[in-house]
Symmetry: C2
Subunit: 205 residues, 2 copies
């Protein structure tokens, strides 16, 4: 299974790293997670440099494609050259976004006639694409899903893991980041060790 | 206010980036957040390279020092050279950890006679330091605090922001990452814009 996370300059840091970290906890064979971008590295909203693993075109044959958020979405949603490099297929691929990443899904025509959610500060821009917006953390329409609010990445990642791995991995991985005493318990220790096998998958693909 | 986040090789990605992102949402003058390490860059548990902003010694005069987690804590908690570079003062500084970062607080003698929390898979190692462990997401003892479970970074960061900025910033910032419809609402949009001022503080310090 190949999962692509698409970034660009001025992305919201935690909207990349929470999903990245969670998706990397799936320890099954041939599970690959890569960060894609148009450059060898991109600069986050807080000026952090992140190297990409591959170019944008790898999104086109990934099993799941996830778009991050951030101020940079405003430039990308009108960047025709950048948008034209994607040939995504919602019949065959899971396609999702966190927060203002929904603006890119809309610009790619993936939200036509669909409901969606986004970050509060991106609602007006998303409405300008004619998308019907609902005040929910996660909106799934077949193979296209949007999530709003950074921590709603849990719903988005859970959806990907349940569909491409299974519900057992989803439940264990989402449990693994809960606060101790509030969803995660010391008695879970043995089960958690399944998530931290010494495999660095990115290097092996 | 100077906030230092200490990293090392094999750190847990989200245990750096959630607190980093949240702490960078405070938009007040002279608020500085830096990532410290013994090298110019460190490699995370998922093989991501992160450049550091400064060396470990800057922790010694920071207003708050936060230790991240990850498999790398096992090497650092017995690395006497590395530990000897810290001269932290819990009378003057806020000192905290997420998950297995508590092992470093213990190794520095900061948890002697105190209760603490940690990640389930680090409980036995922390007990070996003689620390009394409680099954809670956040344990505060004066200026020393431990948090367990990645999302408990919200408690840890909230504690730092409330003490070094104020409760209004804490409440707004913690709200800003909640899922839409579950703590964050479209009506919050205008208030949220206060968090995304075009200031890159790391560059200005």
């Amino acid at each position: 299974m190949k999962i692509a996370i698409v970034i660009f300059d001025k992305f919201t840091d935690v909207d990349l790293w929470l999903m990245w970290d969670l998706l990397n906890r799936v320890q099954i064979k041939n599970w690959s997670v890569k960060i894609l971008g148009e450059k060898d590295s991109h600069i986050s909203a807080t000026n952090i440099e992140v190297k990409t693993h591959a170019g944008l075109e790898e999104a086109n044959d990934a099993d799941a494609v996830l778009f991050v958020s951030g101020q940079g979405t405003r430039a990308k949603m009108i960047d025709k050259d950048w948008l034209s490099r994607f040939h995504l297929n919602p019949e065959k691929q899971l396609i999702g976004s966190i927060c203002s990443g929904a603006l890119i899904l809309a610009a790619l025509g993936l939200l036509e006639g669909k409901t969606a959610t986004t970050y509060p500060t991106s609602k007006a821009a998303l409405e300008s694409f004619g998308v019907e917006i609902v005040e929910k953390p996660f909106v799934e329409n077949g193979n296209v899903a949007t999530a709003g609010g950074c921590l709603a990445q849990q719903y988005l990642v859970g959806w990907v893991i349940e569909n491409l791995a299974n519900q057992e991995w989803k439940d264990l991985i989402l449990k693994s980041i809960q606060p101790v005493g509030e969803g995660l318990f010391f008695a879970d220790a043995e089960n958690l060790t399944r998530l931290y096998a010494p495999i660095i998958k990115v290097q092996t693909v």
